[in-house]
């Protein structure tokens, strides 16, 4: 190949004028550290409002008091124990729920009959109130670990199901066609096209599901519990320990941030292919 290198026109007779108007749309996310800004700011506002009396103690305990109550619970080992007990329930429940949600979501998403048979009952069941279900769960599962885990599984499964199903339905049909022509079976299409395509939305479901899983324990740990985070809050509530209730709330808020960080890390890893352009 011969490319005669001509001298390109390098003599500009007009000065460089009017820069291109700035337009931003490729959202390059700011560094993760900035995300701590507003939670910390909230904390500061709370402390200042409490300190200056704008937020009186009987409206909301001050951060200092909550911290004291938290340290108290932590050093007595109660908080750690509660967390360990609840974590175990959440892990098992989430595992069970994930299997159910993925199985149902994939069935509904991949087959027309699956959608027609699976989706309506799930849409029906997902709006059932936990508090109303507890009596039935006690009858069916007793009062041991099972009903608590069942509630966690249920709470986790529904958001995941909804998002997996929707994510699958939104898969680009052009890509499905392309792989079908390559002779991919239904299962291969699932692995190579459908699941990766549904992943971003499934992660939204995961985010929500994890939140609900922890929340389910508040209800679940009303049934014969003497340990667990939900129990801790319920108990503090029953015995009017508002400072401990707020400790519980703060722990839950922390769990929310933790979940968020976890899913964000997953997202970064799993969706690398999107961040290249």
């Amino acid at each position: 190949m011969s490319i005669p290198v001509l001298a390109a026109d390098r003599t500009h007779d007009a000065p460089s004028v009017a820069a291109i108007p700035t337009r931003k749309f490729r959202r390059r996310p700011l560094s993760g550290a900035w995300r701590w800004l507003s939670p910390v700011a909230l904390l500061l506002v709370w402390q200042v409002a409490s300190g200056t009396g704008i937020l009186p103690e009987d409206k909301l305990a001050s951060p200092a008091k909550v911290l004291a109550a938290g340290l108290d619970l932590a050093t007595s080992g109660q908080l750690g124990d509660a967390f360990a007990v609840s974590l175990r329930r959440v892990l098992i429940g989430v595992a069970v729920g994930a299997v159910i949600a993925l199985a149902l979501g994939i069935t509904a998403g991949l087959s027309r009959w699956g959608a027609v048979l699976v989706d309506p009952p799930v849409q029906m069941l997902r709006t059932l109130p936990f508090l109303g279900l507890i009596p039935l769960f006690i009858i069916w599962f007793g009062i041991g670990e099972e009903p608590k885990i069942a509630l966690v599984a249920l709470g986790f499964a529904f958001p995941l199901y909804l998002n997996v199903y929707a994510g699958i339905r939104d898969t680009d049909p052009q890509l499905l066609e392309a792989t079908a022509v390559l002779g991919f079976t239904r299962w291969e299409r699932l692995a190579h096209v459908v699941l990766p395509a549904a992943l971003p939305q499934a992660l939204v479901g995961l985010r929500q599901g994890l939140g609900v899983a922890w929340l389910s324990l508040i209800v679940g740990e009303q049934i014969n519990a003497d340990a667990g985070l939900g129990y801790l809050i319920n108990n503090a509530r029953d015995f009017l320990r508002t400072d401990q209730v707020v400790v519980g709330l703060v722990v839950y808020a922390g769990l929310g941030l933790l979940t968020d960080a976890l899913v964000r890390a997953l997202e970064r890893k799993a969706l690398r292919w999107r961040n290249t352009r």
């Binding site: 009987d58 007793g142 014969n224 503090a236 015995f239 009017l240």
Partner: protein
């Protein structure tokens, strides 16, 4: 049956287990106790009805509701506490001085609780029609918040909330259980199914005896009991102490007087249309298991 008998006991936080433990009566049972903790009486009875527990202790009102629902439960032992623990409270700066002034006011109460029963009997005693007051159904923790924020005029409640409100929320009691408006009973309730098993029955009998003994102990060791109760529940020690001093729960015979008083309570709920049908409380009582702890 192989192995040890297991007695499944339903409990509330700071209830029977704490009491037996503090009294040192948990050792050497010829059966194994499996404890289950419930937030309040109704779910405990729900579990008893479902056969998930064999026995458990509740206040004077939850059994009435269970009986109204024809639950498979049997009341096997009674206890009673006296004193000012069951009370109707008003804020200290309230103009209400007398129960008669409750007319036209807003009163918080937990639906179906002993305080609910007490409120009905107070209103009845002072000739105030149900339509003359506004009753706000609130669970204790919610009611406490509403009470301290002056969102309600009065609060019908039991101990330890009474003590806490008196000590920490500047509350004033305008009427309490010592004036006879609350019968102060509490009950041990067994799952009917458990009573069909002779091994369980002997365990239940032994358990009831121990419990009665423990109750007596608590009447004579108030400081010890208050200390360990506060430790178990996380309750403010001062509140726990005040609450225990208000009066201990002591075993009493499950006699006709008790049944009649409960029947009257049930009837007042029926009259207030809180429960839909009339019920016979005696049908749910079986005296053969009780112990007075002596």
């Amino acid at each position: 049956a192989s192995g040890q008998v297991v007695l499944r006991v339903g409990d509330q936080k700071g209830g029977s287990q704490a009491l037996l433990q503090a009294a040192g009566l948990l050792d050497g049972t010829p059966y194994k106790i499996e404890w289950s903790t419930f937030t309040s009486g109704p779910p405990l009875l729900e579990a008893a009805n479902a056969g998930a527990i064999d026995i458990g202790g509740v206040g004077n009102t939850p059994p009435i509701f269970s009986a109204a629902a024809n639950a498979k439960i049997t009341i096997v032992q009674a206890g009673q506490h006296t004193g000012p623990g069951d009370a109707i409270l008003v804020p200290s700066d309230s103009t209400i001085q007398d129960p008669k002034q409750l007319k036209g006011k807003t009163i918080a109460v937990a639906q179906g609780s002993s305080a609910h029963a007490q409120l009905l009997s107070v209103l009845n005693k002072f000739g105030i029609a149900l339509s003359d007051v506004k009753i706000d159904y609130l669970q204790p923790s919610d009611a406490y918040a509403a009470f301290t924020q002056h969102r309600v005029d009065a609060w019908s409640i039991w101990d330890p909330y009474t003590s806490q409100a008196l000590l920490q929320a500047h509350a004033r009691s305008i009427v309490n259980g010592s004036s006879g408006t609350a019968n102060g009973y509490s009950f041990q309730v067994a799952a009917t199914k458990a009573l069909g098993d002779s091994a369980k029955v002997s365990a239940i009998k032994d358990y009831l005896a121990r419990l009665a003994k423990a109750q007596k102990w608590s009447g004579t060791h108030k400081d010890e009991w208050a200390a360990s109760w506060s430790k178990v529940t996380g309750l403010d020690p001062a509140v726990a102490k005040a609450s225990v001093n208000d009066g201990a729960t002591l075993p009493i015979p499950l006699d006709d007087k008790v049944i009649a008083s409960e029947q009257q309570l049930a009837d007042s709920f029926t009259a207030a249309k809180v429960i839909p049908t009339k019920l016979t409380f005696a049908d749910f009582v079986d005296k053969q298991y009780e112990s007075t702890g002596s």
